[in-house]
């Protein structure tokens, strides 16, 4: 199930295995048969760590979803709650425990907090009078979840909001902890670079934690050469732009959660001969997306305009492979053909699925609205008319387009203009409040607090300087055979990835001036390695850098980093970690107050 995690430069399966072992240990603590009651949100992330078979091996016989009322009857010795540390969940658990049937043989209760136990939650359980009913209260430290061979995420939905809006640095503490775990498994990372306040904070915590463990030296040969910590607020622009890679567009349009996407079912109905009139399914089609699927690994990071050609090429190869059967003459040849069938069938299904997805996406990317929206984005990113009220935005508000779309554009204009003129800002704010409701005043205030929306305080707009120095806009972006990371946004090179690229070569010293224009300090730290663990690099051997995005990363940025890893003379391979995989929509949503109302 997880072989794809070990194909990358760094074997992330080690991390997954460690997490599995931890899970087994906890399950064995609760001796005897058991039922797990799940906080439904957790089943997704857990699915990346373990299958039901693992739980079953450890006597888990039933699984339920956490709900108010009574835990369904099940003839088991233990009931284990797998929950996030949330107060509202504690109330449900308390109700569950209290409504337990007294006539039945007593069952033992346990709680496993993911990713951390919380004193606040335990206090709530105590107030409810049930704390003493639990035999085990434990935590399952699931800080960094391996998503793919080169990708780790904490999937902490609110990390950006907490860090930059509420100034709550708990998620940074978890980040530092997660990085310590990673170092325990993969060796001390000798070099740490960073840009931004949060990056500085995480590095400080790491160094302190290392001092606390000074007694036991890490004897593992370092796998990572460099750690780069990047604050999301160093690059507020990138997530606002519409991602134009295949995976990025799937996420923008349908949303990828825990490696799965739900798609409209119509295009996926399987027609077998003789079953013509079969009803079309109405449930969304759910597909898993990761590099275990050969075709997906090949196309996901391409610009969407290059996907059609790739699919068509693949189709020809598969067709040819199936044609081979006519050439198979001897029994041996036929046998060989048959042995390859399962693989070919899988490839064929995969191709059919992605062709359908590509068609769905193309319907949207060829729509006039998509094109107009993209045009405005690209105008802003190239600095065209960013200081005036934009007609397209005005019109979109008047037509009551989705509020998040409006907010993405207005924020983008503000970021590309280093703040909006007071008059322009006031105009947008009034139009938005009048059209979508005054309560969004709170959301607008939040956006101002995190710096996505702001009045222009100085007349000096430094965005053009940043754009030019870092070459953020490439006129001749090649979508088919890219030679630069700017292909992921058809012209715009994500600032965060440019910084990463420039750090590797020629180094940040060359861009000191621009770094000073971006928020937060930039720094470099070194961690001493025990003698004997210094890596002797082979000639031509690539360096490995872990890039950690504090506050979230988009699929297009990941694609750009993978592109850099694959560059022939790149010299550096990247592993990516983040607090959350996000896109402009999910990001803005996390900053809204009462996002459930009027977002679509």
């Amino acid at each position: 199930m997880a072989a794809h995690l070990s194909y990358g430069r760094v074997n992330l399966n080690i991390l997954r295995e460690a997490a599995r072992k931890e899970l087994r240990e906890f399950l064995d603590k609760c001796a005897g048969s058991k039922a797990i009651v799940w906080d439904e949100y957790l089943t997704g992330p857990f699915g990346l760590i373990a299958q039901y078979s693992l739980l079953k091996e450890h006597e888990v016989e039933k699984m339920f979803t956490l709900k108010a009322g009574r835990v369904p009857s099940a003839d088991v010795k233990n009931i284990i709650f797998f929950v996030r540390p949330r107060l509202e969940l504690m109330d449900i658990i308390a109700e569950n425990v209290m409504s337990e049937d007294k006539l039945q043989p007593p069952r033992e209760f346990h709680i496993l907090f993911v990713p951390r136990r919380s004193l606040l939650c335990e206090q709530r359980l105590k107030e409810q009078g049930v704390l003493n009913s639990f035999t085990n209260i434990d935590e399952y430290i699931l800080d960094l979840i391996p998503y793919d061979g080169d990708l780790l995420s904490m999937e902490s939905e609110s990390a950006f909001r907490e860090c930059y809006l509420e100034n709550d640095q708990t998620s940074l503490y978890h980040t530092a902890k997660g990085l310590m775990t990673l170092q325990a498994l993969y060796g001390t990372i000798p070099q740490i670079f960073g840009k931004g306040e949060c990056a500085r904070h995480v590095a400080n915590m790491m160094l302190r934690m290392k001092r606390e463990f000074a007694g036991s030296q890490n004897q593992i040969l370092p796998v990572f050469d460099t750690l780069l910590l990047l604050d999301r607020n160093v690059d507020l622009l990138t997530p606002l732009a519409t991602q134009l890679t295949y995976e990025g567009l799937i996420d923008e349009i349908y949303g990828i959660t825990n490696g799965y996407v739900k798609l409209p079912p119509e295009k996926f109905a399987q027609k077998k001969p003789g079953e013509g009139g079969k009803d079309l399914p109405t449930e969304p089609k759910k597909l898993q997306l990761n590099s275990a699927e050969e075709l997906y690994a090949e196309i996901r990071d391409k610009n969407f305009n290059a996907v059609g050609a790739a699919l068509s090429k693949k189709a020809k190869i598969i067709s040819a492979a199936f044609e081979e059967r006519h050439n198979a003459k001897t029994v041996g040849e036929i046998k060989q053909f048959v042995s390859q069938l399962p693989h070919m069938q899988a490839a064929r299904n995969s191709l059919a699925n992605h062709t359908s997805i590509a068609e769905l996406i193309k319907d949207i990317t060829t729509s006039e609205d998509f094109f107009e929206n993209l045009t405005v984005e690209q105008e802003f990113m190239t600095g065209v008319d960013t200081d005036k009220v934009n007609t397209y935005i005005e019109d979109s508000i008047a037509q009551k387009d989705p509020l998040i779309k409006i907010l993405r554009l207005v924020c983008m204009q503000s970021v590309c203009n280093n703040g909006l003129k007071q008059k322009v800002l006031d105009h947008y704010k009034r139009e938005i409040l009048q059209t979508y409701g005054y309560e969004h005043l709170l959301t607008l205030n939040n956006l101002e607090k995190v710096g996505l929306l702001k009045p222009q305080l100085t007349t000096r707009n430094n965005y053009p300087t940043i754009r030019k120095t870092l070459k953020l806009w490439m006129e001749d972006a090649n979508e088919q055979n890219p030679n630069d990371i700017s292909y992921v946004y058809s012209g715009y090179a994500p600032l965060s990835v440019r910084l990463t690229q420039l750090l590797a070569r020629p180094g940040w010293r060359s861009i000191e001036e621009v770094l000073k224009m971006l928020p937060g300090p930039h720094f470099e730290e070194r961690q001493q390695l025990p003698t004997g663990l210094h890596k002797k690099r082979q000639q031509g051997e690539n360096r490995t850098t872990l890039v950690f995005f504090l506050g979230g990363v988009t699929y297009a940025e990941i694609a750009a980093l993978r592109f850099l890893s694959q560059m022939e003379d790149g010299g550096t391979e990247y592993v990516i970690a983040t607090t959350k995989l996000l896109n402009g929509t999910s990001w803005i949503k996390s900053l809204m107050d009462r996002p459930e109302a009027q977002i679509l």
């Binding site: 305009n305 059609g308 189709a315 068609e359």
Partner: protein, 440 residues
């Protein structure tokens, strides 16, 4: 997918890179579809599942995945013995090197069973060990040795028993807080804050928090979590963060369902110390709600609302146009755009482009005649032509070509109209008209 402006057309036509086109012909995708058909036509028996192929339910969950199993095991009440799940954990044997690690063992000297430390929340100062937690006594040995702030905080972090009651003096309590903060563990900081909240007066706690930014943030977060709105507002006031306080108070209205009560609440918000802009918006919000409640009132004419809420002309026209068009009140639509000049002639003007007006009318199924009238008002001849062609306003197309003196296009267009029709004759007449100076 790149920025394309009219002047860029040449670039697109000459470039080897293709942008998204709106044409139906699209090579790659047509090819793609063909290939798909070809592949689909190859008959492969899908039924004989192979062990190598992961089984997936329709909803996409691999059979045996956790979310799939939650549904499965909850719905079936067979005894566990009968349940058989397909063996799907097909992971090839993993590199063995990793399997020896456990995350916790990396950090803990020994992995110890849980000990309840929340017992220390009790008001009695007896240190409590939850007796129901079965654990060997031997592991409790290091229990009493050291009660310095450092050691206490360390114990809290590791989940061992501790007691905060020993920190009596203000100075001790603050030392404890500072130690917790320096470790950055939010969980521990919150626990200490809860103790301080209980054992210190509000004034003193607020005063001390003011000089401890990090602890203050955690405290604010804690109060929010617990819904202690009143205390939170007091705290904001004490800190002088009046605008935050005002917004926080205003946010409460989201929780009020009853309209009348919400209006009253908003009214009480009007006097809060908002920033100047926000104050205006909140005032508007209140006025709007008041008005919605007395919707039949005489104050609610569109023009009056427009004036009260300083609605821009554009927004007003777009909203009114949409509303009128939906009701098919084409006459009202007309009057939205009619302006009289000083001679008393009426003329149509619009703050938004007439092509947008046409768009909205078309979406509301306006009759051809209405549509035609507005297409004709579009200034830009290119735009007018394309929309006229789209909505089959033949007369406008013909007149526009005539104005552009484009005889060739006119001849091309003649091929598209019905032979012998009124349009056909009109074109015929025009192309034979020697008076017109055609450009081609």
């Amino acid at each position: 997918m790149s920025r394309a402006k009219p002047e860029d057309d040449e670039y697109w036509n000459s470039s080897k890179f293709s942008a998204f086109t709106f044409d139906d012909e699209d090579d790659e995708f047509t090819k793609m579809k063909e290939s798909k058909r070809a592949v689909n036509s190859i008959l492969v028996d899908d039924d004989d599942d192979d062990d190598d192929v992961e089984k997936v339910s329709w909803s996409g969950e691999p059979i045996g995945s956790i979310s799939w199993s939650v549904k499965e095991t909850a719905s079936s009440f067979r005894s566990s013995g009968e349940q058989s799940f397909p063996k799907i954990d097909t992971a090839p044997s993993l590199p063995k090197q990793g399997s020896g690690y456990s995350l916790s063992s990396l950090f803990k000297a020994k992995s110890k069973p849980f000990q309840s430390f929340s017992e220390s929340f009790t008001d009695t100062s007896t240190r409590a060990y939850a007796p129901e937690l079965r654990k060997p006594k031997s592991e409790c040995k290091d229990y009493m040795s050291d009660w310095s702030p450092e050691e206490t905080v360390r114990r809290m972090r590791k989940g061992r028993a501790y007691s905060l009651e020993r920190f009596h003096s203000l100075q001790d309590k603050l030392l404890l807080l500072d130690e917790a903060v320096s470790l950055h563990d939010g969980n521990v900081i919150t626990a200490v804050l809860i103790y301080l909240k209980r054992s210190l007066s509000k004034e003193i706690l607020f005063r001390e928090l003011m000089v401890r930014e990090v602890a203050l943030r955690h405290y604010v977060h804690y109060l929010k979590e617990m819904g202690e709105q009143k205390l939170l507002v007091e705290l904001m006031k004490a800190l002088g963060r009046t605008e935050d306080m005002a917004l926080m108070q205003y946010k409460e209205h989201l929780n009020i369902k009853d309209e009348g009560r919400r209006r009253d609440f908003l009214k009480s918000c009007l006097s809060l110390p908002f920033s100047q802009d926000d104050a205006m918006h909140v005032q508007d919000h209140y006025t709007l709600l008041e008005r919605q409640i007395i919707i039949e009132g005489t104050f609610s004419s569109p023009a009056n609302i427009r004036k009260t809420f300083r609605i821009s002309e554009k927004q007003y026209i777009l909203t009114a146009l949409g509303a009128r068009a939906k009701l098919k009140s084409w006459f009202d639509v007309d009057s939205l755009f009619n302006t009289k000049n000083w001679l008393g002639y009426t003329k149509k003007r619009s703050p938004i482009g007439f092509h947008r007006v046409v768009d909205i009318l078309q979406k509301n199924n306006a009759p051809a005649q209405v549509l035609q009238e507005y297409v004709n008002l579009i200034d830009d001849p290119e735009l007018r032509l394309s929309l006229a062609q789209k909505y089959k306003c033949h007369d406008i197309v013909i007149d526009t070509y005539k104005d552009l003196k484009d005889r060739q296009q006119l001849i091309v267009y003649q091929g598209k109209v019905e032979r012998g029709s009124h349009e056909d004759r009109k074109i015929e007449e025009l192309i034979n008209n020697m008076q017109i100076r055609w450009k081609n």
